[in-house]
Amino acid sequence: MQVPATFAYERARSVAHALELLERYGPEARVVAGGHSLIPMMKLRLAQPEALIDINDLAGELGRIAVEGDELAIGALVRHAELLESTTATNIFPIFRDAERVIADPIVRNRGTVGGSLCQGDPSEDLSAVFTALRATAVIQGPGGTRTVPVRRFHRGPYETAVEPNELLVQLRVPITPGTGSAYAKVERRVGDWPVAAAGAVITVRDGVIERAGIGLTAVGAAHFCAPEAEEHLAGRPPGEEAFAAAGRIAAERCEPHGDQRGPADYKRHLAAELTRRALVAAAGRI
């Protein structure tokens, strides 16, 4: 039987109240939403927060998906299942459908949240690669107000993010650009597992050439889930198999996968190249 260590439990009534509680309990407090990463870690005593601040009641403030101007805004408390079923999100960015269909399983997706996935900071997490590919911005609220951090600078390292102990991730904002296609490709050992490797691709084509590409990689040791050299290679080239395969090779060369129970490093590197190529092909087909 796995039992967490003792902790104080507080239920936030608003974002402002959550921030007050974080201030009161200090750096040993943790925010809990879906809890599907944090509670298992607490059961294994890998995490022993002194207090949990439950934000599950804040769907009114943090649970919205909406187009606002030329951005798609996704609240941090949006559940995986809600993002998967949001035609607002998936019609504009089918990469969300690709990725959410293979994150955990339907029951876990009912509970786990978008913000929680990012804040967990797991180096094999899927949405971190998706939002990296999309060049999204994280909106973080703290006692002094709201600040924004590009998702590409959100992760400071494994399980470490830009969110300070007295702050809360409240929203992800994704720029909407006409002429854009997006896709996600993942290899997993079995349904619902973490990826052996996965790649997200977002490309914007104008006048027959790639204006901008976004590539996100997860589980393969890519710094900040990102493949900037591969993105630079694509910019200005016509979309096509040759360019996509080259981008895949470049992305694979620059990542640093580690061998583990999900596969040896050279296999993961092979997947990084191939999945980047496949995601780019699929993204180009959706423009």
């Binding site: 039987m1 796995q2 039992v3 967490p4 260590a5 003792t6 902790f7 104080a8 439990y9 239920r11 809990v32 809890g35 599907h36 509670i39 298992p40 607490m42 059961k43 949990l52 439950d54 599950n56 955990a104 399983d105 339907p106 029951i107 876990v108 009912n110 509970r111 349904v191 619902g192």
Partner: protein, 168 residues
């Protein structure tokens, strides 16, 4: 801390530690042992219950998180039985189509099946298999579980006895 959770329509007030998991609250505090406790890692899905109508894995939800909310367990399924006011159609489907052998995964499967059919009254096999993909069965190979859920779907669609009988 004092919490009140409505389980199968009945409010229960209890003093619990914040670290108590919902699955243990249901089993040990309320004696509702129909909800099973399996892998403890949110993989196997035997602890699945409805929280405000949505299936969740109760080994990864704190009981205090359910304070003020509604939980439905397998014991609550028959209350709203559809065919003759006894068992729910999904329960009847599992009986008719031999949807269980050891029965350990069954409560969770039933609650997910109920949720699926409430959202999609006529799911095909692929949709059923996807819906139960977060739950493990080590006996049936899933074939009879899928048939059982189809049986329940057809029972409702036909308003009477399903056209498809259980296969051996």
């Amino acid at each position: 801390m004092r919490i009140t959770v409505t389980v199968n329509g009945q409010p229960y007030a209890r003093d619990v530690e914040p670290r108590l998991l919902l699955v243990h609250f249901l089993r040990d505090e309320l004696g509702l042992t129909g909800t099973h406790w399996g892998c403890d890692t949110s993989n196997c899905g035997v602890c699945t219950v409805h929280l405000d109508g949505v299936p969740v894995k109760s080994c990864t939800v704190l009981a205090v998180m359910a304070d003020g909310h509604e939980v439905t367990t397998v014991e609550g399924l028959e209350r709203d039985g559809e065919l003759d006011g006894e068992l729910d159609a999904v329960q009847k489907g599992f009986v008719e189509c031999h949807g269980l052998q050891c029965g350990f995964c069954t409560p969770g499967m039933l609650l997910t099946a109920r949720w699926l059919l409430d959202r999609d009254p006529d799911p095909d096999e692929a949709r059923i298999r996807e819906a139960i993909s977060g739950q493990l069965c080590r006996c049936t190979g899933y074939e009879n579980i899928v048939r059982s859920i189809r049986w329940a779907a057809e029972a409702r669609l036909n308003g009477a006895r399903p056209a498809t009988e259980a296969k051996q």
